[in-house]
């Protein structure tokens, strides 16, 4: 009874704290699992129907992103790089049906994935190649991006005389 006056404040603090913890947890899941988490939580709209698996690897001078896209025409794949976010979009051709469908297991529809790249990359060094149903996007790392020197100019007017 003696600490009754402190009760509302501590209640408020603890609930704010709980909310903050909950948010942190969600953020952590989103951060560590990225697109997959958004997909598994069902937070995405109906803009994509399937989620092909991707692998991201790093070599000395490039980042390699491999996406399994069997049966997707290379010209239908759209690869864009904005900053360090790589977005891959592709529709899956639905015109290959002939006859009556008896069994359907292969994924179809359109998909879109955005992959955050872990290092700074050079937007002029992006190559995408599709081979045997696997799309590989090779993004060259930015040369010395972290140690670029910015020269400091003096903007003071020159004194004549």
């Amino acid at each position: 009874m003696s600490n009754e006056s402190q009760q509302p404040e501590s209640l408020l603090t603890s609930s704010v704290e709980r909310l903050r913890h909950e948010l942190d947890r969600w953020l952590e899941v989103a951060w560590s699992q990225g697109e997959r988490a958004i997909d598994s939580l069902g937070l995405r709209g109906g803009e994509r129907d399937w989620c092909p698996p991707i692998d991201v690897r790093e070599t000395g001078d490039a980042v390699l992103v491999d996406v399994e896209l069997p049966g997707v025409q290379p010209e239908a794949v759209d690869v864009t790089l904005a900053g360090h976010m790589l977005t891959i979009t592709a529709p899956i051709a639905a015109a290959e049906q002939e006859g009556e469908l008896r069994r359907r297991e292969r994924p179809r529809g359109r998909f879109r994935r955005t992959i955050p790249l872990p290092v700074s990359v050079d937007p002029d060094k992006v190559e995408a190649e599709s081979k045997f149903g696997v799309l590989r996007v090779r993004i060259g790392k930015a040369a010395g991006a972290c140690e670029k020197r910015v020269p400091v100019r003096s903007s003071e007017p020159e004194t004549t005389g």
Binding site: L64, P70, G99, E100, F132, R136
Partner: protein, 137 residues
């Protein structure tokens, strides 16, 4: 679709392929590829997703009435590359089907394009019912 006897059915154990398949190293993971089956008047068309499988690494085999698909994936990853994020492993594909009598085994055709295998299973011509005269002795 289980009532349709013309469709290929899968044997209980998927990994009992014939001995003539390429030697498989035990540590490589095997996955069953997803398939679509279409039926038309001419027969059946089976399509399987085999991303990363080349024509050299693909084995399509018909033994007795069993159709086996085996695809070996050759990794094209440079050895010095380090994995940052991995959602799939390099694994080989294996799946087999029991074909019905209605498939003409000699005319089965297979082609691979862009990681998709298409197997055409033509319908066998049904022999005309033959009347057997009964001799009375």
């Amino acid at each position: 679709m289980s009532q349709d006897h013309s469709l290929p059915t899968e044997p209980g154990t998927p990994d009992d392929g014939g001995e003539r398949l390429p030697a498989r190293t035990p540590e490589r993971r095997l996955a069953a590829p997803p398939i679509d089956i279409f039926e038309s008047d001419g027969g059946l068309v089976l399509r399987a997703d085999l991303p990363g499988v080349t024509a050299e690494g693909l084995e399509v085999q018909v033994q007795d009435n069993k159709l086996t698909l085996f695809g070996r994936v050759t990794s094209t990853v440079p050895p010095e590359a380090t994995v940052l994020h991995q959602e799939y492993e390099v694994c080989d594909f294996l799946r087999s089907f029991i074909l019905s009598e209605e498939v003409d085994h000699d005319r089965i055709e297979a082609k691979l394009s862009g990681g998709v295998l298409e197997v055409v299973l033509p319908r066998a011509d049904r022999p005309e019912p033959r009347r057997i005269p009964v001799k009375v002795q």
